[in-house]
């Protein structure tokens, strides 16, 4: 086996507390599920721990009724490994665009809560949407990790990604990362793309963040290590694979076999994996499973989880039987729209427009307002020219076109929020009020649970038995221990 060229070490960024449960558990991991294993994660040898992304923030507020700022503060306090927070550029945690003053305040607050690495990306790869985040993040003392999103299309060539690399470097990125949200990368593409990006990086460390839907990710990570990538994003084994990222354990082994130095502690990783395997059982949530290779994924590019969601949506409209037609139409719509990347929110745009086209039996008779905004350039630059079939139906007026940086057409938001919330409002409250309706924020005031910061299998067994109301008497004996509980 050829040794990795000039590659001395490979680092690992943990995504177990963020993307792994976002992909496998609908982002439903609570802070209380994380705290007992934090000290082990801190000792496992990760270079960075990713704790925040758009979905985590949103699910905290909407469904878990946790204040996301409290979670960020607590994780940053407990972890001595640098914590990483990810935002979607000018959209932060949602899909609407926010004014520059809100984006800047968010970066300052994250830094104050203890975030050390600030990761930014834009779903259109329009890096003008990262400018205000990066500026404020850097001023607040955070390292900047600039991501570019990978997709397959005739315009998303290696040269396209070299251009994005140069833009991210010009912004002042301390790290670069290729994000492959749907697991579309192949070892063959990596063999040309990765060296091209590394060559353009001017020595700035390049990372890989690739999901496992096509089951090729471990091989793609191997290609990245050989191409001189500095780090890879991975998850603890029970929450790896499938729609999630590859397992730390597996990629660690691949790196070792390539003769590359890594800092992972296998015993600690084993304890972490044991805890999360148990958590899957306790919470009755799925563990990650290795996906089967599926060539169709490279056509429609819709992640598996989204297809099942789409099928469900179509069933409620009595259109379930038209799913194959709609999947085919998605590829056509994507081409007509200038190849948007199939990630949120554009994935939903493609799916909805394709459904409308199929149901109406006529293309673009109805065009949703959001797609009109996209085509106007409201969210950022469109990657390739849009087709006449689409533009003729859209009938854009020249006055509707947006050519400036999207953040520039949005009025500052903080003066109004300060007036509404009064002088006593904290930065966190101001930002939550910028993102959400008041009614959604009320449940966040509820008292927090007692967090446990250590645990053991025995402790978990006792707690689990204690929570079962049907058990009136329990006795556990092993080795030198003998415990009895009675209701």
């Amino acid at each position: 086996m050829r040794k990795a060229q000039e590659q001395k070490r490979f680092d690992f960024v943990d995504v177990t507390l963020r993307d792994a449960h976002q992909c496998l558990w609908g982002t439903r991991m609570t802070t209380a599920m994380m705290t007992p294993i934090l000290s082990e994660i801190d000792r496992a040898g990760y270079s960075v721990i990713n704790i925040l992304g758009g979905a985590v923030f949103d699910v905290c507020v909407r469904y878990l009724h946790e204040n996301p700022w409290d979670r960020i503060r607590l994780l940053c306090e407990r972890l001595s490994t640098p914590c990483d927070a990810l935002t979607r550029g000018q959209s932060l945690y949602t899909f609407e665009l926010f004014p520059d003053d809100v984006v800047a305040l968010n970066a300052r607050l994250l830094a104050r809560l203890g975030v050390k690495v600030f990761t930014v990306y834009d779903a259109l790869n329009d890096n003008r949407n990262l400018e205000s985040s990066v500026k404020a993040g850097r001023e607040a003392g955070m390292k900047i990790n600039g991501w570019m999103t990978y997709t397959l299309s005739p315009v998303h060539t290696d040269a396209y990604y070299v251009e994005r690399t140069k833009e991210l470097l010009a912004l002042g990125s301390d790290y670069l990362c290729i994000k492959d949200p749907t697991g579309l990368l192949t070892p063959e593409r990596g063999a040309t793309l990765f060296p091209a990006v590394v060559a353009a990086s001017g020595g700035v460390p390049v990372q890989l963040h690739s999901h496992c839907q096509s089951a090729l990710a471990p091989k793609v990570y191997e290609t990245a290590i050989r191409s001189g990538f500095a780090a890879g994003h991975t998850a603890s084994e029970p929450l790896a694979n499938g729609a999630s990222l590859p397992a730390t354990e597996e990629i660690g082994e691949i790196a070792r076999r390539l003769g590359v130095e890594i800092s992972l502690d296998d015993d600690v990783l084993k304890t972490i994996a044991g805890y999360f395997r148990w958590l899957c059982v306790r919470e009755e949530k799925p563990c990650g499973r290795v996906a089967q290779y599926d060539p169709a994924l490279y056509e429609h590019q819709i992640p598996g989880g989204m297809i099942s969601n789409l099928h469900y949506q179509l069933e409620t409209m009595k259109l379930g039987h038209r799913l194959p037609e709609i999947l085919e139409e998605i590829a056509r719509v994507r081409k007509d729209l200038g190849y948007p990347i199939v990630v949120s929110p554009f994935a939903q745009y493609l799916v909805t427009q394709a459904t409308i086209n199929v149901v109406q039996g006529e293309r673009y008779k109805t065009i949703p307002d959001e797609i009109r905004k996209y085509a106007r350039g409201y969210y950022g630059k469109v990657a390739a020219p849009m087709s006449p079939a689409f533009l003729d139906r859209l009938k854009l007026k020249p006055s509707e076109l947006v050519t400036e940086r999207p953040g520039e057409h949005i009025e500052p938001g903080l003066p109004r929020l300060r007036r509404e919330l009064g002088p006593g409002a904290s930065d966190g409250d101001l930002l939550l009020a910028a993102f959400y309706d008041k009614a959604l924020l009320e449940p966040l005031e509820r008292p927090k649970p007692e967090y446990r910061f250590r645990t053991s299998p025995l402790h978990e067994l006792v707690a689990w038995l204690g929570a079962r109301r049907d058990i009136e008497h329990a006795r556990i004996r092993f080795a030198g221990t003998d415990m009895t509980f009675s209701a």
Binding site: R28, T30, A32, Y63, L64, H65, T271, G274, Y275, R277, W278, V281, R282, E283, E284, Q313, T316, M317, K318, L319, Q348, Y349, V351, T352, T355, I356, V359, Q360, K365, T366, I367, P368, D369, E370, I371, P449, S456, P457, L458, E460, L461, A463, W464, L465, G466, A467, R468, R469, D470, I471, E472, H473, A474, R475, I476, R477, F478, A479, G480, A487
Partner: protein, 156 residues
């Protein structure tokens, strides 16, 4: 041999065994040096409560289909119909005034309402110059493709 600690693998096995035997009033397990014995209150299967978990509130389900009453319109009215199955909204956002009121004059490109289809908003234009005579559907109601939303009396 040093005393063995309970491992997470042991724990997963024990809990799965306890869960699959919930119809029995007594449970005794001995594997190697581990022994677990339980007595259940009534022997009847109880749903296992989840520790420390608040129930997850899911998205509100889509608006329920209503009983559709047949509506008839006089022939001179221009009927604006829904392009798709979706949800009808009279205002751009909750708490904001409706796009149009009955009696209001509209231009062909005036927006009358929004139909939400799979989370995206479709603005519905009047298509003619005239006066709004009737808003047929209630706000936030589910609508079928082709269902009449608004009736307009065109300016002759």
């Amino acid at each position: 041999m040093a005393e063995r600690n309970l491992t997470y693998d042991d724990l997963v096995q024990i809990v799965e065994l306890i869960r699959t035997t919930s119809q029995f009033s007594e449970f005794r397990l001995k594997v190697g040096d581990i022994e677990v014995s339980l007595k259940r209150a009534n022997g009847a299967a109880c749903p296992a409560p989840m520790p420390q978990e608040t129930p997850v509130r899911e998205e509100t389900p889509a608006a329920l289909p209503r009983e559709k009453k047949p509506v008839s319109f006089s022939e001179n009215l221009h009927l604006v119909r829904s392009p798709m199955v979706g949800t009808f909204y009279r205002a751009p956002a909750p708490g904001q005034p409706p796009f149009v009121e009955v009696g209001q004059s509209v231009e062909p490109d005036s927006i009358l309402c929004v139909i939400e289809v799979m989370k995206l908003m479709n603005s519905i234009e009047a298509g003619v110059r005239g006066t709004v005579r009737q808003v047929v559907v209630e706000n936030a109601a589910a609508v079928e493709a082709g269902e009449v939303l608004v009736a307009i009396e065109p300016l002759s």
